[in-house]
Symmetry: C2
Subunit: 189 residues, 2 copies
């Protein structure tokens, strides 16, 4: 790992072992969120990965050492926070297919969570990186849910993504500047 | 643990080992939040405890077994979500002193997080259970921050808590019905 990434190393360590595919998008979003916080634009964090602890070793009084644990399935999306007084909630996915994004890549309870938050007035979306096209899209939860509900398909076709997705621009300090898109799409001032 | 708690058992297991003092308030808030979700009143969750993973055993292909890990300090508050279109953010603390709530019980970066979210228009507060008085209070972040900033004290005195805190009522299905207080204090309709 290169020196400039050193600061974020600890944060992404948890997922490194789980899914190398998602690491780079996750890293990009973490860098972006840190910039948002430092520039006082928005307060948005990735939630910690849920872990079920089975056994803790208390031999050393000062530190609790976890010696037996497993990953739990998340019951919500990975990211939430506040922007311009609005509740923001999203899930990030990286897709390596050229033709479509399979619904099997997103947990059903995460979709349910987006549906609920959307209904309660939050700004909810999916950030989808189509790796083969080197493009990252913001997909509004309501557009996604419409398609997910109405179709018997098992995936989002690339044509649908190009039509309904909003491309997110890359910037050095904000590799996934999704709030720029949020401003336009949700007409925030 | 009793049968009625079985559903939430998994969620609270993580903190059970860390601090038995906080368990009952945390449990009460989890039950309340589950009721809010089931009754479609609000979507508010406790964030998972942040854990730094050192070593994972992949012997069994199906499950990643964590064999070496430590607790990380949280960088935000424990709870956030959406209610009536508003961003909600709070920290919960249980206090066993009769005279005051010591500031050493709340991390500085958690106070900073409340400050930031408050400035960005969120509804931010602390839920404080004064165990000796069998009372649970909602304390607005701005009131807390005013006192924290303005005073050279190291704690919130009980007189201040009685004056500025809003008592939260107990109900069976909502042991800490804090949104009832939020409605009144923040004049939400």
């Amino acid at each position: 790992m290169n020196y400039p990434n050193k600061k974020t190393k600890e944060k992404i360590q948890i997922t490194t072992n789980r899914s190398k595919l998602g690491m780079s998008l996750e890293n990009d979003i973490n860098v972006t969120n840190t910039t948002y916080i430092n520039e006082d634009i928005a307060i948005i964090y990735k939630k910690p990965t849920p872990i079920k602890i089975v056994k803790v070793d208390y031999k050393k009084r000062s530190t609790a050492h976890i010696v037996d644990a497993y990953y739990n399935q998340p019951s919500t999306t990975d990211y939430n926070g506040i922007y311009k007084g609005k509740y923001i909630d999203f899930e990030a996915k990286e897709c390596h297919s050229k033709t479509s994004f399979p619904f099997s890549s997103i947990h059903k309870h995460q979709i349910l969570h987006l549906q609920r938050c959307n209904r309660h007035g939050g700004i909810c979306f999916i950030i989808l990186r189509m790796y083969q096209y080197q493009k990252t899209f913001l997909i509004k939860a309501e557009d996604f849910l419409d398609f997910y509900k109405g179709e018997s398909r098992k995936s989002l076709p690339i044509d649908w993504i190009n039509k309904y997705g909003y491309e997110i621009r890359f910037k050095f300090s904000k590799p996934v500047d999704y709030l720029e898109v949020v401003d336009k799409v949700y007409k925030l001032k």
